[in-house]
Symmetry: C2
Subunit: 318 residues, 2 copies
């Protein structure tokens, strides 16, 4: 199961913050990479910066098929279905991954196009409130977590290609089932967008003077509310079931806190729980090097073994 | 109304993050400053760093009276009442201010001790999730907003001393009425602690894997939940009326978002409102130098004129 041949070229579809940063990171590591974006302006900017980009999707996919490239879907969730129709037509044999922030919906769409056999999803846990080619950064993934979908029946060779792609950007590879991933990001990535938004709205509603007084807690707590709304909507709405559960729990906990403050003059419970949760998060992220997964990729039951190892703190190190 | 004599020495009661940083900042600017902390350990640390600190409150207040020092109350809100009893006894003539994050409650406590004539409250909008002397930083207030309470009937001379103290730390002085301040900080400072806490709790409740996947949105959105719980409680519970209103609005908006997501599959309203609010905040803070208040301090109606100027973006520049 080891790679003796050079890694395949990479074809990135969508050159926004994630796709464009991926192109930069891979290029810097010496991987062959080319890409597509529907906007001529983005393509000109990318080509002007020395990258290999095109606004012609059919030509890009035809080239991917000829070169047996690993195709990366890096456009917003609502566009994936239309892109896959062209993948089926022009590059149906290519290994396929994505960088969309939900995994079950994309997997279902891939399945509907009959491409599941070639597909292993992925999700780099990196970003910024900025978007578009001008925000791209070759170092965006350095040290970041890159989830590689590890569902039963995944093709080990495609899985290896996708995980190697992530490692080549400087990311840490964490295997997870698609549904487990989606529940997790609802709580730790999508919900924080809504709490940031509501914090911003209530603060701004208090008027100009209040916003002038806003300091670090407001600045950091509302940062991601400044992400382009259509990108936030695409991300959050694609994970609506899991997000609904996280949002309902949030409302319940805030309502309990409100009642405790009104009836007993204290915010003790929420503040104490929040402190414990934050310290637990800090402890997990302060830990040193992650242990490597030792189960061999592709052996019987490797998918479940990888997932279990990841839950206990391991990463896939190649 | 101008200062011809050298500014008075400053007596800081409480050498935690804010009081200790104030001592450092003033000392660096050449102001005479001494202080008190009830913990011998903190006093040793401060003296070891070359500052003038004591664990003897009576001796410190006696010295403040002898030197006509400006006394700064920098202990947590629940301790203010007990400290004021000693101020009345040992230094009743000294000008007095505070750095507590709520203004109405402190003003009422000061009033109950008969010290209102000497008192002008203040609130530096600066902090960190760290606390105690080891977290102090002479640059903590540089560029930060320092609200100086500007209620009708404030003594212009005390007001000037307090505002000058703030300027000497490198802060920007914004006059505001105590009630206006308290409503504002409920929304832009206290509420963000509760939204950070609930975000941390819901994320951590999803388990270890979820916390491993947590990236920038979670890190920034939960940062202030890591502040020492007793400090958060003291701050938030002292402003419970205004915080209750902000918290109820937050619950209402999240409930609307939850219903919209459940019934229509979209988070459009909250995301769009949050984006607008965040951009408005960014615009206010990206503006260049603030204009200076031109009304002369102490002239008839200066308090209202100062407040109005501040609402329109002006600062007091000395």
């Amino acid at each position: 199961m080891t790679h003796s041949s050079p890694p395949p070229p990479v074809c990135v579809l969508g050159l926004g913050l994630i796709g464009g940063s991926l192109m930069r990171a891979l290029h810097d590591r010496g991987r062959r990479v080319f890409g597509y974006n529907r906007s001529e302006e983005t393509v000109s900017a990318a080509n002007g910066d020395g990258y290999d980009a095109s606004a012609d999707l059919v030509a890009t996919l035809t080239r991917a098929a000829q070169e047996s490239a690993l195709i990366v879907l890096a456009t917003p969730a609502p566009t994936i279905d239309a892109i896959l129709a062209d993948v089926v037509r022009y590059a149906p044999q290519c290994p396929l991954t994505d960088v969309v922030s939900v995994k079950q919906q994309v997997a279902a769409t891939v399945h509907a196009h009959g491409l599941s056999r070639n597909f292993v999803g992925g999700h780099p846990m990196a970003g910024s409130a900025e978007s578009g080619w001008q925000a791209t950064d070759a170092a965006l993934f350095t040290g970041a977590v890159w989830v590689v979908a590890t569902d039963d029946g995944a093709d080990p060779q495609v899985w290896r290609s996708v995980a190697q792609l992530a490692l080549d950007t400087g990311a840490r590879v964490i295997p997870a089932a698609s549904d487990e991933h989606d529940r997790a990001v609802a709580s730790i990535s999508h919900l924080p967008h809504l709490t940031a938004s509501v914090t911003a709205v209530v603060g701004a509603g208090e008027g100009e003077l209040a916003l002038r007084l806003a300091a670090g807690s407001f600045r950091d707590g509302t940062r991601v509310a400044g992400t382009a709304p259509h990108l936030q909507q695409a991300m959050l709405e694609a994970n609506s079931t899991a997000l609904l559960a996280a949002l309902s729990e949030t409302i319940d906990r805030l309502t309990f806190a409100r009642d405790q403050l009104r009836d007993h003059g204290t915010v003790e419970t929420l503040v104490a729980d929040g402190f414990r949760a934050r310290k637990h998060y800090e402890k997990i992220h302060a830990a040193g090097d992650d242990p490597a997964i030792t189960v061999e990729l592709g052996t019987d039951g490797w998918e479940a073994a990888f997932r279990n190892a990841a839950r206990q703190g391991a990463v896939w190190a190649g």
